[in-house]
């Protein structure tokens, strides 16, 4: 955590939030930095409420007690699910929880200025919906594309391609020294969740009697994901006919992780070839891989290999994939002027 809070107009608390389909992160101007699983649950009945002794559970807490909960994952493909009041309520509770972790809105009547990252291809209607959903939770809100927040936080606003692999979407953004336009950005819905689905199906096909959930699959992926040659056999444990059994899922893990490589390469190259010719080399040598997908072993070198056919390039995996987006959002929040925030009040 940072040692001291940076000053900001009116004593406001600035936060950057990466509202993720699977996991959300917050970075705050008072030095807070937290990540929570994007799950919210309410006790399913009176018995559950008595056992849990709480009316609301958020994050890992909710996941671990999910059998007793009406569990909600309020985001889908990086966006708030629309049409369900309960999902909307879950989104607000998730935000409130994140803010409470950094001391925002805990009775201290201190204005909160939030920058929230969303997928690059988010439509204006979705942004408006998010803004309405967060009304009353934060005082002023700025919504930016997630890869732009990453680029801002890394001071990479010029001749850079950011690839942000989250759970719901993989977002691309070419930074050309300006605020990115629609042409500079892309979103693919092939990301962490699609790897999970692929892996779940493949393991189920190989071990039909094995019992496991998507939550177990996600944990396996987070521990063992890789592309290319396996660094080591991937062996996990799951019950088969009730007996804990070791399952070798090396080939399935590789296949699942590699399922997103071709679309990412294709989109990356497509965006690169649309950069002005004299700058293409600089952008190729400044590709940043962020988000949870950046932790897939050997993905960076694999993308570099794909760049060879364009003359070579360099892919850098960010040091802190989990917080690089929220840190970028925080940097934007702190750099924005008081007058800017006035315009963005709820």
């Amino acid at each position: 955590m940072k040692a001291e809070e940076q000053s900001n107009g009116n004593g406001a608390l600035c936060v950057g939030i990466d509202l993720g389909t699977s996991r959300s992160a917050i970075s705050s101007s008072n030095g807070g930095q937290f990540a929570v699983d994007s799950f919210v649950g309410w006790p399913a009945d009176l018995v559950a409420r008595k056992v849990l002794k709480r009316d609301l559970l958020v994050g890992r807490d909710a996941l671990e007690n999910r059998t007793m909960l009406e569990l909600h994952r309020p985001l889908e493909r990086g966006l708030l699910k629309e049409g369900s009041d309960r999902d909307l309520q879950a989104a607000r509770e998730l935000l409130r929880h994140l803010l409470s972790l950094v001391g925002g809105k805990n009775g201290k009547n201190r204005p909160v200025r939030a920058v929230v990252g969303v997928p690059a291809a988010t439509m204006r209607t979705n942004k408006q919906y998010l803004r309405n959903a967060l009304s009353g939770v934060v005082d002023s809100l700025m919504i930016v594309s997630e890869p732009f927040a990453v680029a801002y936080g890394l001071n990479a606003l010029l001749h850079t391609l950011v690839i942000d692999i989250g759970a719901g979407t993989t977002d691309f953004c070419v930074m050309k020294g300006r605020y990115p336009t629609d042409e500079d950005q892309r979103s693919l819905t092939l990301a962490g969740d699609s790897i999970d689905a692929h892996l779940q199906n493949a393991v189920q096909a190989k071990y039909p009697k094995a019992q496991f959930t998507v939550f177990m699959v996600r944990e396996w992926k987070e521990q063992h994901s890789f592309v290319g040659e396996p660094p080591a056999p991937v062996v996990v444990t799951a019950p088969v006919d009730g007996v804990p059994t070791e399952l070798d899922i090396t080939a399935e893990m590789r296949s699942a992780c590699e399922s997103i490589v071709a679309p990412i390469v294709e989109t990356m190259i497509d965006l690169l070839t649309q950069v002005e010719p004299e700058f293409q080399g600089q952008v190729r040598n400044h590709v940043i891989l962020a988000g949870g997908g950046g932790l897939i072993r050997n993905l960076g070198p694999t993308l570099e290999k794909a760049l060879d056919r364009l003359g070579g390039g360099k892919v850098t995996v960010t040091d802190s994939p989990m917080f690089v987006g929220s840190d970028g959002g925080l940097a934007i929040a702190q750099d924005a002027q008081d007058g800017d925030w006035e315009r963005l009040k709820h």
């Binding site: 204006r124 300006r178 819905t189 497509d270």
Partner: protein, 351 residues
């Protein structure tokens, strides 16, 4: 790469732009590059040479001829319409704009990322064509397009709500709305897709069938004719049309609009042929309808039957047939949402 001063200036610039984009969303404004004044300026700068007088004269003359050619049909279609002069002017403008704004083929063939727009449909804007003073097409038996489209929109609305989809109606009664007002209502309603319901008026009266339009250059007189009829009372000038079309023809939502048009057309043909096996499939087409230009979401205009055809008109008089049309429209929307449209069709206007 950057000097010690540049990064701060750059950061200030991008934050200003981010704040402006957010302020636009809050105010419900179009993004700056799509606003008429900015668009006009940019387009003028980019294409000043295209606006040279000789070119305009040539195009003007050629389109004027075309408009004259379609005039009788338009007049026949909207017999009894009290504002014929205004209609004529608007229709002519629309046709001129179509001809005067040649497209860069590379824009039309630019691929759209598959995931870019697959972000969910939760709210549908339904536009019941015509209304109030604008009767639309009329049958010999005295049915008016404005009444039937309102009835159909109401049925579609209920079916969509039953499926948990929110609905915004551009009109819920016999109101006179300009096309600009319809588009503004749709944009303010923040719908995910826009479906404009119309009934065709075709000549000769023996011609009938179903056709669905999305925005694009038609290049075919018969489509211009339909667009001219539907664009009357738009109030858009030739310059407005040119700028709008320049921007929108290359818009990513055009791909989604085509997809929506295909699923709706397919569902309409399939369902209506269950009751009338011979009803012609006139296909998915492109034309420059104002409501499709000015709406910000994927948008289509469905001509669900021909009111000018006595056989279709007789069927349209029965609630059961109108309910079938409504169900077909909803089925098409649902197929669009479910991505049940893997079979891509090739359209003459895009080949």
């Amino acid at each position: 790469m950057e000097s010690s001063i540049q990064p701060n200036r750059l950061k200030a610039q991008v934050i200003r732009a981010a704040v402006q984009e957010n302020a636009d969303v809050i105010a419900g404004r179009l993004p700056a590059p799509l606003r008429p004044a900015r668009r006009l300026l940019l387009a003028w700068r980019r294409r000043a040479w295209m606006l040279a007088l000789p070119a305009i004269v040539v195009v003007w003359a050629s389109v004027a001829n075309r408009t004259d050619a379609v005039q009788p049909a338009a007049t026949a279609a909207i017999a009894g319409e009290p504002e014929k002069p205004r209609r004529d002017a608007a229709g002519r403008d629309a046709n001129r704009a179509t001809e005067a704004a040649p497209l860069d083929p590379s824009l039309l063939s630019r691929p759209v990322a598959a995931g870019a727009l697959a972000l969910g449909v939760h709210r549908v804007v339904l536009d019941a064509g015509h209304g109030g003073e604008h009767l639309g097409a009329s049958s010999r038996s005295g049915l008016h397009e404005k009444d039937l489209t309102l009835d159909l929109a109401g049925r579609v609305r209920q079916l969509l709500i039953d499926r948990g989809i929110e609905v915004v109606m551009t009109r819920t009664g016999d109101q006179t709305l300009s096309l600009r007002q319809r588009a503004e209502a749709a944009n303010a309603g923040r719908g995910d897709i826009f479906v404009s319901i119309h009934l065709n008026s075709l000549q000769p009266a023996s011609v009938r069938g179903i056709e669905t339009f999305y925005l694009g250059p038609s290049g075919r007189p018969e489509h211009d004719e339909v667009a001219a009829k539907e664009n009357e009372h738009s109030g858009y000038s030739l310059a407005d049309m040119r700028m709008l079309l320049d921007t929108i023809y290359a818009d990513a939502r055009r791909h989604e609009s085509r997809r929506l048009a295909e699923t709706v057309q397919r569902a309409l043909v399939a369902r209506l042929r269950e009751q009338d096996a011979g009803i012609p499939d006139r296909g998915v087409k492109t034309a420059p309808f104002i409501v499709l230009v000015a709406t910000e979401m994927p948008a289509i205009l469905a001509e669900v039957s021909a009111l000018s055809n006595p056989r279709d008109a007789a069927r349209l008089a029965t609630p059961g047939y109108r309910q079938t049309i409504a169900e077909a429209l909803v089925s098409g929307v649902q197929d669009f949402i479910d991505h049940k449209d893997t079979a891509e069709r090739k359209h003459p206007s895009e080949s």
